[in-house]
């Protein structure tokens, strides 16, 4: 699970180790990446909204 999160974070930044990428594609479960990706994208949007509200307030 932590491994999936780390890979999704790396994808957000756009940088990933070649070795890790291979591993994810060979052993990983695509559904896990998609789900974690969607959840983290929502969290990111929420975080931005929070920061914006704080800055505007």
């Amino acid at each position: 699970m932590w491994g999936v999160i780390k890979s999704v974070l790396a994808a957000f930044l756009g940088v990933q180790k070649e070795q890790q990428r291979r591993e994810d594609f060979e052993k990983g479960n695509p559904m896990a990446f998609i789900l974690v990706g969607i959840i983290m994208a929502l969290l990111f949007v929420g975080l931005i909204a929070l920061v914006a509200t704080w800055a505007a307030g």
Binding site: L13, G14, V15, K17
Partner: protein
């Protein structure tokens, strides 16, 4: 390394001389409001960040190109992928962008905060003039370009404020927060005064806000900044910023004028007065399309001199001017002109350039027609 230093020094001296270029009018103006100064400073900060990045990136690039050139026997390092380097070159721009977004957002928040204004001015874009209305003060007027057509055609020498002069400037007090409410009667225009750092689209059926607090008295000029038709270039903006006392005096004067004008609606007008007034209105409002001698420029703008339909049917004539003709360039002048101006311009067009119906249209009658 020494080559790099020489280049850096060269780059810095360029930076120094560009400071002079900035002062010479190539740059945006600092303006005359606190906010315009802030916007200018923000612009300069971001400009210099871009310059530093540009010099650094191109410096390293050209240094590498020259120092490690093929003729000197340079061998390419043949490696693939370096996560550390990739993380650095992703994180650094991210930090720079966030660093630029923070001051930019702080300034934007100020721009978008028109609260606590002490004066509200409605600015309406029209093809091709501006209309200013001091809300709650009973003062409203049109602001038409006053540059003579002869200068535009090239028959006369161009004046000092060629295409940047109007018959009635917008008058504002200094040191007071003035809120603008922008809208348009026809197409999208944009009210742009560089010295205020205000450039706001005026959109039909929509009201947008902006505000200004001018620090120095003076005359500030601007232009329509949204292509709005053939006379887009001929609807300049002139703002006369005055000391608060002078502004109050001016406002009272205008209010008295408006009251007098309102009284004028009820009295009987002589033909001569109507013709004189009508000529002025025609010159500032109608002549840009129908031409000074009423010859028009068909087919878009019909001739008024000898216009049979107009001369035969006075009701149609009045309706056309009050309500406009939908689907053509003829706008409604219901709100742009007051009853006296409407009556005067109708009288003028019926009795000028060889038209001689003898009709003297009375303001009272027009006022009644407007109520219907």
């Amino acid at each position: 390394m020494r080559t790099l230093l020489v280049w850096l020094a060269g780059g810095l001296s360029l930076v120094g001389s560009s400071q002079a270029a900035l002062a010479s009018g190539w740059n945006m103006p600092v303006g005359v409001t606190d906010l315009s100064r802030e916007i200018y400073n923000l612009h300069m900060v971001i400009f210099w960040i871009c310059v530093v990045i540009g010099v650094a990136v191109f410096g390293v690039m050209f240094y590498s190109l020259i120092r490690h050139r093929h003729s000197k026997g340079a061998k390419a390092a043949n490696f693939h992928e370096n996560t550390t380097v990739e993380v650095i070159w992703t994180a650094v721009p991210l930090l720079i962008l966030v660093g630029m977004a923070i001051p930019a957002t702080a300034t934007l928040q100020k721009i978008y905060d028109p609260s606590d204004a002490e004066l509200d001015v409605m600015v309406t874009g029209q093809q091709w003039r501006w209309r200013y209305e001091y809300l709650g003060e009973d003062v409203a007027f049109n602001s038409n370009m006053s540059t003579p057509r002869a200068q535009i055609r090239g028959d006369e020498e161009r004046g000092e404020n060629y295409l940047l002069e109007v018959d009635e400037p917008l008058v504002l007090p200094i040191n007071r927060k003035v809120r603008f409410l922008f809208t348009s009667d026809d197409v999208i225009h944009a009210w742009w005064v560089p010295d205020f750092a205000v450039k706001q689209d005026t959109i039909p059926g929509f009201i947008s806000e902006n505000w200004v607090r001018i620090n120095e008295p003076g005359i500030y000029r601007g232009q329509c900044a949204e292509l709005c038709g053939v006379d887009h270039a001929y609807m300049p903006i002139v703002v006369h910023a005055m000391e608060e006392d002078d502004f109050e005096t001016w406002l009272v004067e205008r209010q008295e004028m408006a009251a007098e004008e309102a009284l004028g609606v009820d009295r009987e007008w002589e033909m001569d007065e109507l013709m004189e007034r009508g000529e002025g209105v025609y010159g500032s409002i109608c002549a840009s399309c129908h031409q000074v001698e009423g010859q028009g420029s068909p087919p878009a703008f019909p001739a008024l001199a000898g216009n049979e339909q107009m001369l035969a049917d006075i009701d149609w004539h009045k309706d056309t001017i009050i309500n406009g003709v939908s689907g053509t360039a003829m706008p409604s002048f219901r709100t742009t002109l007051n009853p006296v101006e409407l009556a005067a311009v109708i009288t003028y067009t019926r009795n000028a350039w060889g038209n001689d119906t003898g009709d003297a249209v009375q303001p009272a009658e027009i006022a009644e027609r407007l109520e219907r």
